[in-house]
Symmetry: C2
Subunit: 333 residues, 2 copies
């Protein structure tokens, strides 16, 4: 890997683009050892850059004439907008001119673009989208949160392995605790999927701590919580909406409501974590929240750099190979 790590960034993706993206990139380029390639409508990107007094030499601008809208259908965006900032950002990395990818644009379109143009690490079957949920002592990674809605037990095992490697290498958790999201903690509980996944995780060599039920999701029972994308998506979105609901309930009644809102926002703030890693893609890819602040973008750059520098993908590949060869040996015995 060339030094410094090169990250291509979709300059036009997100609700506050290009402003927050450019601003976050300027901060990242000053703080980290990184070469950034900012992709988008060049005049707009340069206009934003010109607002910053000291522009680090490590930001390059690449023009792309189109923009994928936040509500655009993913397949249409991938097929028709070949010159979108998102597509060009991904293409740059795909042809070897960047080591990692960041976008705060349309999640579905970004996922589809990476999946179709970058593809998977050899041996990886599904690409899960991971996110972070807060607990009293930190954050748990939850995956998949919406990309793969019908999973098989082997997919959840793959997610567990990838989540574990990511937690080790990027979050510096030595032997991450892996939990299986389920309706109860007992081994025999669950639907067909979780009942079949449980023994796979138990024999995986990962630090599997068993089933985690809905009550445990925000309690930090595991560092990595594995589930299919349907359940992950609904659990996360309903929780997000519940926090908003609670703030509304308190709004009319409590004078301190603004302070409560700020405390809760801080507790649920994902910006330190820099966005959702799309695991299993051949090139490290981070999909940031559409409403990302400059700080979130800056942290996404830091995370992308660690994702590349710590060889997460190579480790995933090797661990998968080892797991598959262990399984073959077991079958042969």
């Amino acid at each position: 890997m060339p030094d410094p790590v090169r990250i291509s960034v979709d300059g036009m993706g997100g609700d506050f683009a290009p402003q927050n993206i450019v601003s976050g990139c300027v901060q990242a380029a000053s703080e980290y050892e990184v070469q950034l390639i900012l992709v988008g409508i060049e005049s707009q990107i340069r206009a934003e850059l010109s607002k910053h007094s000291a522009i680090p030499g490590r930001i390059e601008v690449v023009d792309a004439s189109e923009i994928v809208a936040m509500n655009e259908q993913a397949t249409v965006a991938v097929r028709k907008k070949r010159n979108s900032s998102m597509r060009v950002t991904v293409d740059i990395a795909s042809r070897g001119d960047a080591d990692g990818i960041i976008s705060a644009g349309n999640t579905g379109a970004m996922y589809a673009t990476v999946k179709m143009t970058v593809g998977a690490i050899p041996g990886v079957d599904r690409l899960p989208l991971a996110t972070f949920v807060p607990h009293p002592k930190g954050r748990s990674i939850v995956l998949d949160v919406g990309a793969n809605v019908d999973c098989k037990p082997d997919h959840l095992l793959e997610f567990a392995l990838m989540g574990s490697v990511y937690a080790e290498e990027v979050l510096s958790i030595p032997t991450p605790k892996i939990g299986l999201l389920n309706i109860g903690e007992e081994e025999k509980k669950g639907n067909d999927l979780t009942k079949e996944t449980f023994p796979l995780l138990k024999n995986s060599g990962l630090n599997f701590v068993g089933n985690i039920d809905g009550y445990g999701l925000f309690a930090g029972m595991a560092d990595v919580v594995v589930c299919d994308g349907f359940i992950g998506n609904i659990a996360l979105k309903s929780s997000e909406s519940l926090v908003e609901t609670i703030l509304h309930v308190l709004e009319k009644e409590i004078e301190e409501q603004p302070r409560i809102a700020s405390l809760l926002t801080k507790y649920f703030d994902y910006s330190e974590y820099g966005g959702a890693p799309l695991l299993g893609a051949r090139i490290p890819s981070i999909i940031c929240h559409g409403r990302s602040s400059p700080k979130a973008i800056k942290n996404a750059v830091r995370v992308a750099v660690e994702f590349c520098r710590n060889n997460v993908n190579e480790r995933i590949h090797k661990r998968l190979e080892r797991m598959h060869s262990d399984n073959s040996q077991q079958l042969a015995q």
Copy 2:
């Protein structure tokens, strides 16, 4: 149906039994036209009754020597404790001596007992457990929330129909809006189950308003939200735990925390709704929260009486028959 409606109540079920159960029953018997059969260890039930100055004549006590523990395995409870207060409560209704059933005991055991000894309304395939989630203007029914973890599209259709009849007859909502819990609102979104269920609901004659995503769950987008028990259980439990998490976050920082806790408790308070109806069972059955207050038990009695008096089960049966005959006609055409 004899007048007044007769409800058998498990006097020993729940974390605060028999105290809260007896107290709720005494209140209910004074307020409503109902005959109550209180089942449990007779000396304990009578001791609780004696604490109330005016004991209405409409409470009868039936002795049962055993108690199903809150954490006892459901199958063991059903098989081995033939003389538990729960089992006797259900048996009384099963042999025709009561019109409805209430227990605040072990949910799994109560569900299994009703399913095995009472059985389903003819034509009903699965018995969903329903619960209520708050929204700014009231409550939505969500079903199933844990009883049926692997469902087929026909099951979700059945749940929708039963939830709709319940909302009409017990909650007095004229044409309840039915939503399908999903990862997005567009028709084509979802996993295999929801994609196959969508057209069934669309052609069901119910007031189907489409998919409801996680964000919509607490927004009152539908009066009845349908999902399989796996997703319902996790969405509900994780939301419950999130409310607790939020109270912990605020506990250290906010002076008004006790007032916040009381506001949130009030918002999320289900006691007005009297517990979770177990829909599709041949005899109206209500499973109350283990921590039910006397008020919750009183309201459970009110709900059970309406459940019986408004012929919910008969209407479910007729509507199912009509739906099945419509389907046969469509197939024949």
